[in-house]
């Protein structure tokens, strides 16, 4: 029997990073319908940083969370609707309660890879509401496999029903993925998944490696639509898994159609591996920083690549966008001092 892989599609969430959270209502409708037709099992929607994140700091979304969830729910019938939840951005009373009411099926509760403790109350609330909660460990390249397991076990004990590690910076090579996924699969009783980014061109092979190491959940976005260099390209992933004999349950032709729809509707230019994305991957810094880094580089007249490496030295993580300015300012001051000297 073919090994079953559960595909989660964050096109309408991670992809929002690629367009500064400006995905339109029409885009949500068009892609929900296309994904539904292709039998995508789970579709993640929302602001790039998840529920409750729309703000001046990380970017204001063109649609409210309520609008996104309502529109998506109307067009998802067999596909389950998922959201990304980062405690801090997302509060239980203001955001989670309403999300449950609006019919979200899967809550992917995320933290930085060494801070699983902050997910306790959110996972607990979701489970008490009778909904499915997963634990998401972001920037997972910044922790050793043993630390990741320790953090994942925390989420498991809070009630998480699956753990997904995110290669948020697109920094992994296949051996890194294999080591981490094997450790998690061996140490946890719940399913393990992988969410790739393509900064170093490794997203698809890393996802295949994850499956071979025991992962049963893989994230992929249509045309790679996602932060920075983009996510693992969903239609490629489905094709590759089909060739390898894995069962995703997704209709290949229909997901290829969905890629065409995405191209015409909201994603005319697929994310590419820009020079800055490569640096982001090498520096191990969140891919979603590419746009604010470019802006800061222009404002302070410094090399954006230096900003990325500076952020890498400071172990910057998503949500620390203010660090970009700090690093850019330091670099500008250093450059000015060097010119004077």
């Amino acid at each position: 029997m073919a090994k079953k892989i559960l595909i989660t599609d964050p096109t309408l969430r991670d992809g929002n990073h690629a367009v500064r959270h400006q995905l339109s209502r029409e885009a949500f409708v068009a892609y929900c319908q296309a994904a539904e037709a292709a039998r995508v099992p789970i579709l993640e929607v929302g602001h790039g940083n998840g529920l409750g994140a729309s703000s001046m700091l990380v970017g204001e979304c063109s649609m409210s969370d309520e609008e996104i969830l309502t529109v998506s729910r109307q067009h998802l019938h067999n596909s389950r609707m998922s959201i990304h939840v980062i405690p801090g951005f997302c509060t239980i009373k203001k955001d989670l309660v309403r999300a449950v009411e609006l019919g979200v099926d899967v809550f992917r509760v995320a933290s930085h890879c060494t801070e699983a403790d902050i997910t306790d109350r959110h996972i607990h609330y979701v489970r008490q509401a009778g909904k499915e909660a997963w634990g998401i460990l972001m920037m997972s390249h910044m922790a050793t496999p043993a630390t990741l397991l320790e953090e994942a076990k925390k989420m498991e004990s809070y009630g998480a029903e699956a753990i997904v590690i995110m290669d948020s910076a697109g920094a992994y090579f296949p051996d890194d993925v294999k080591e981490r996924i094997e450790t998690l699969v061996d140490g946890l009783a719940i399913p393990v998944g992988f969410h790739g980014h393509n900064n170093l061109g490794m997203a698809v092979i890393n996802s295949v490696t994850a499956v071979n190491a025991g992962a049963t959940i893989i994230d992929g976005s249509i045309r790679g639509f996602g932060a920075g260099a983009g996510n693992t390209q969903l239609e490629v992933l489905v094709a590759v898994f089909e060739r390898l004999g894995f069962d995703t349950g997704i209709d290949l032709y229909k997901i290829l159609d969905a890629a065409d729809i995405a191209e015409k509707s909201f994603n005319p230019v697929a994310p590419s591996i820009s020079p800055l994305s490569i640096v982001s991957g090498l520096a191990g810094v969140f891919s979603g920083f590419a746009k604010p880094v470019a802006r800061a580089a222009e404002e302070y007249k410094v090399d954006p690549r230096d900003i990325f490496f500076g952020l890498g030295k400071r172990n910057a993580v998503a949500g620390q966008e203010s660090l970009i300015i700090e690093v850019a300012r330091d670099l500008a001051a250093k450059n000015a001092a060097a010119q004077k000297g």
Binding site: K3, D117, D120, Q128, G130, E132, A189, P191
Partner: protein
């Protein structure tokens, strides 16, 4: 006693203690102390003391020691408001004293909730290890102490990974130094501390090792499989089982667990360990079927949400022959009734 739930718990308590008149007689006019007194087991012991005094006029008095007592007093006024039950705010991590007239001590303080094991392992370890140290030290000051019962855990046996029941002398490897085994490791250390006090200070001491306990007075958010399944049914959701559903557990009703602990006070022998759990194993699949009988329509079940994983033998239930022989106890609440009672407790608005 306006709340109908408490009428049922009173009947359960009376049923649990009905068949051992000699234990009831031995408890007459005795003063009991329970650490962790507002937890599941402690609350059931309070329920039993209330039932024994009201039904049999035994004149038992009870001190409950716990860290947070206000919420318990508000939730269970039928127990907190009684003159024969006193509640004391006490964190067992600090040294303390029992009332001088205490005859029996049940040390039940501990944090079995594995959500806390992961997030605050230091508190888990200190509550268990410092807690028993302080409780034993306090007990050793008592002139009239008849027995100290240490409430340990079935987890001290390690991970069996073989089918069948666990006896009190079964031990399997238990990895040390890993955070997720902090509770089991701490409970092992507590059993050793208790053994030292029994040997070095001749403290009359026995141990009970609870397996899965359930029923009234349980909190629904405790992360045991049965609670997860009951909650999924109550919220109308799908029941999701990781694995193939063949894992087996057993479920002892709270009233029986509390009575058996009181029986261990009276009939326990120094240094002996008694399993505290039901001897009837039930697979997760069967458990879900039984829970489904409580509701209509039947709940949807998603099996094997973690496929491609090699299924290991996953049994955790006790061999009760030693407990039954030594303590003379018997289960008064069969599995189907235990599940029905647990369901009613959780389904009733609180």
């Amino acid at each position: 006693m306006a709340d109908p739930r408490f009428a049922e718990t009173r009947q359960d308590a009376l049923a649990a203690c009905a068949h051992q008149p000699e234990v009831r007689a031995a408890l007459a006019r005795q003063h009991l102390a329970v650490t962790g007194g507002t937890g599941f087991l402690g609350t059931w012991i309070a329920e039993l003391v209330a039932a024994l005094n009201d039904q049999y006029k035994l004149g038992v008095t009870l001190d409950l020691y716990a860290r947070n007592i206000v919420e318990w007093q508000q939730k269970y006024p039928h127990l907190a408001g009684r003159l024969d039950i006193r509640v004391h705010s006490q964190d067992v991590r600090s040294s303390f004293e029992f009332a001088k007239n205490t005859n029996y001590v049940i040390h039940a303080a501990g944090i079995p909730n594995n959500r806390v094991h992961a997030s605050d392992p230091l508190r888990v370890f200190q509550t268990t290890v410092s807690g028993i140290n302080n409780a034993l030290e306090a007990a050793s000051q008592l002139d009239g102490l008849r027995r100290f019962v240490n409430v340990s855990s079935c987890l001290v046996a390690g991970s069996p990974q073989r089918p069948g029941p666990l006896t009190e002398s079964d031990y399997f490897p238990l990895p040390s130094g890993l955070l997720h085994t902090v509770y089991a490791d701490a409970k092992r250390a507590a059993e050793m501390t208790a053994a030292i006090y029994r040997s070095q200070y001749r403290l009359p001491l026995s141990t009970v090792r609870p397996f899965t306990l359930t029923g009234a007075y349980q909190e629904l958010d405790r992360p045991w499989a049965i609670n997860n399944f009951l909650r999924d049914v109550l919220t109308g959701g799908e029941i999701r089982i990781h694995g193939d559903g063949s894992a087996r557990r057993s479920y002892l009703y709270g009233a029986d667990a509390a009575w058996w602990t009181l029986a261990a006070l009276v009939n326990g022998v120094d240094g002996e360990v008694y399993n505290l759990g039901s001897a009837t194993p039930v697979s997760h699949n069967e458990l879900v079927r039984l829970i489904g009988e409580q509701v209509s329509p039947k709940p949807r079940v998603a099996l094997n949400t973690a496929p491609n994983r090699q299924q290991k033998d996953n049994d955790l239930y006790p061999d009760l022959s030693f407990t039954v022989r030594r303590l003379g106890v018997a289960e008064t609440c069969p599995l189907d009734q235990t599940i029905a009672k647990a369901y009613r407790w959780f389904a009733t608005p609180q």
